[in-house]
């Protein structure tokens, strides 16, 4: 797999990889049967993502995209965060091999699921 240096950096030194005990939004996407499962934890204050972390079972691209999306999303409002697309994630990583594009989907979907979970918790 020809991963960019940035992908390899985020894979080898993942940012914000931990379980968050006091998250107020948690989203899990993927299917371990297919080799991927991703949980995104967010802590929202005043409509802003104050803290974000992930846990991922998956390939190098899945781990790198999880790590990257936490960097992109932190400090954003929920509205802004919902607009992060898979292409944004891939672009920030200087691209992904074509077969791995779906892994960046996973990250964007995971964040969305976490935000939806936050909305559900705080209706």
């Amino acid at each position: 797999m020809d991963y960019s240096e940035k992908v390899m950096d985020h894979f080898a030194n993942p940012r914000n990889s931990r379980k968050m005990e006091d998250a107020n939004g948690v989203g899990t996407v993927g299917n371990p049967t297919c080799g991927d499962l991703m949980t995104i934890y967010i802590k929202v204050e005043d409509n802003i993502i104050k803290d974000i972390s992930f846990q991922t079972f998956g390939c190098g691209a899945a781990i790198a995209t999880s790590s990257m999306i936490t960097e992109i999303a932190v400090g954003k409002t929920l509205e802004e965060a919902l607009k992060i697309s898979r292409n944004d994630v891939a672009e920030e990583l200087d691209g992904l091999p074509p077969v791995k594009m779906h892994c960046s989907n996973l990250a964007a979907d995971g964040l969305q699921a976490a935000i939806e979970n936050y909305y559900e918790n705080n209706q």
């Binding site: 390899m8 894979f11 080898a12 079972f57 998956g58 077969v99």
Partner: protein, 383 residues
């Protein structure tokens, strides 16, 4: 440290030296009449003799091809196109290499019937299943000798006996076993046997098919009539010369290598299984190649493990879907009845005789650390 010798090997120095003159000096076409051509022809004959010696065959039973995949295709399609009128049933296993499996799937699309024998959790077929599967329509049995992912070894001798009794052609893919354990076509009772050069420190792009005298095949590549009409195309003389040399070396050193490899393999296996929690060996622990181990680690994904190991200087492989271009998990591991999640957490390491020099403890520690790191990140690891 290269630990992926089941994928391919380095050409050995002796092999490369032997090949060299055939690129620019002895470059003649073996089919030509003059001296330059006759020298190439002689080189082919010598290589053929060396391959034959290594598997206890006669030189006229060795047919050179472009590799293991072509040999498998030639064996299977060759028999089937010759015997289609006699019957349309073929028996194989659930864990064949794609060169066999996809060939049979193609034949299914032409209305052949294929029985896939189960391999159970140890990765080995049962002779009774084979006996039950045979019908009057069966024209071919194709069962691999050693599996490329698991390293497990099938009971080829016994299968061969059953095939002989019933008068059914029997092909085995010995690409992974050749050079690792004894491969003797007489003892194995086979009619066809596939070999590949680049798995035994020979060059890529060369292989051979053993065809027992009297077995008739339709060619896969028709043309100028080389290889007694069974495999046309100008012969890859330097490649064949290199393959011949690699066979000679492999045969000469077989016992010595077997001892060495088995002892390192066992050391690695014991240490990994003892050091790492929830680590398991895939495939039978005894009936296996001396150079191949396949582990599974709970709650982690193989591609990321491979990448971490590569960063530490260890090259290995995995059966995880995420590591393949098709994003399909290893059908071989799936055939063992493993939980799909576990299939993704597999690690295959395959040793070469040179591997003896490497530091087993450092390797085991690196695997242990890498597995631990990935488990920390994994939502599936709750310990």
């Amino acid at each position: 440290m290269y630990l992926d010798n089941s994928a391919t090997t380095q050409v050995s120095k002796e092999v490369f030296e032997e090949m060299k003159p055939y690129f620019r000096e002895e470059f003649g076409n073996p089919s030509t009449l003059y001296k330059l051509g006759r020298e190439s022809k002689k080189a082919l004959d010598q290589a053929r003799q060396r391959v034959a010696n290594a598997i206890n065959a006669k030189p006229e039973e060795i047919y050179f091809t472009s590799g293991g995949s072509e040999s498998d295709n030639l064996a299977i399609k060759g028999i089937v196109f010759k015997l289609a009128k006699k019957g349309k049933h073929i028996i194989t296993t659930e864990i064949e290499h794609p060169a066999v499996k996809r060939t049979l799937q193609f034949l299914e699309s032409l209305d052949f019937k294929v029985t896939y024998l189960p391999v159970y959790e140890n990765g080995i077929i049962k002779i009774d299943d084979l006996k039950e599967a045979i019908t009057d329509e069966t024209i071919l049995i194709s069962v691999m000798h050693g599996n490329n992912e698991l390293g497990t070894i099938q009971p080829i001798e016994e299968i061969g006996k059953v095939a002989r009794e019933k008068g059914i052609n029997f092909h085995t893919d010995a690409v992974q076993t050749f050079g690792k354990i004894e491969v003797d076509v007489e003892k194995l009772n086979v009619d066809l046997l596939a070999l590949s050069s680049h798995k035994i420190n020979g060059p890529k792009g060369v292989g051979a098919l053993y065809i027992k005298k009297g077995t008739r095949l339709e060619p896969l590549i028709h043309g100028g009539g080389q290889e007694k009409g069974i495999r046309s195309g100008t012969e890859n003389v330097p490649g064949i010369v290199g393959f011949g040399k690699a066979c000679e070396l492999a045969a000469d050193q077989l016992d010595e290598h077997y001892e060495k490899l088995t002892s390192i393999r066992n050391e690695i296996s014991d240490k990994i299984l003892n050091t790492i929690p929830e680590a398991y060996l895939n495939g039978d622990a005894e009936k296996r190649l001396p150079n191949l181990l396949n582990f599974r680690f709970k709650a982690i994904e193989g591609e990321s493990l491979i990448l971490l190991l590569d960063a530490k200087g260890y090259q290995a492989s995995t059966g995880s879907a995420c590591s393949s271009n098709t994003l399909e998990a290893s059908p071989v591991l799936t055939a063992l009845g493993l939980d799909p999640v576990d299939v993704h957490g597999s690690l295959r390491i395959s040793l070469a005789p040179e591997s003896e020099e490497f530091d087993v403890d450092d390797f085991v520690n690196t695997v242990a650390e890498s597995v631990a790191r990935l488990r920390e990140m994994s939502p599936l690891w709750n310990q």
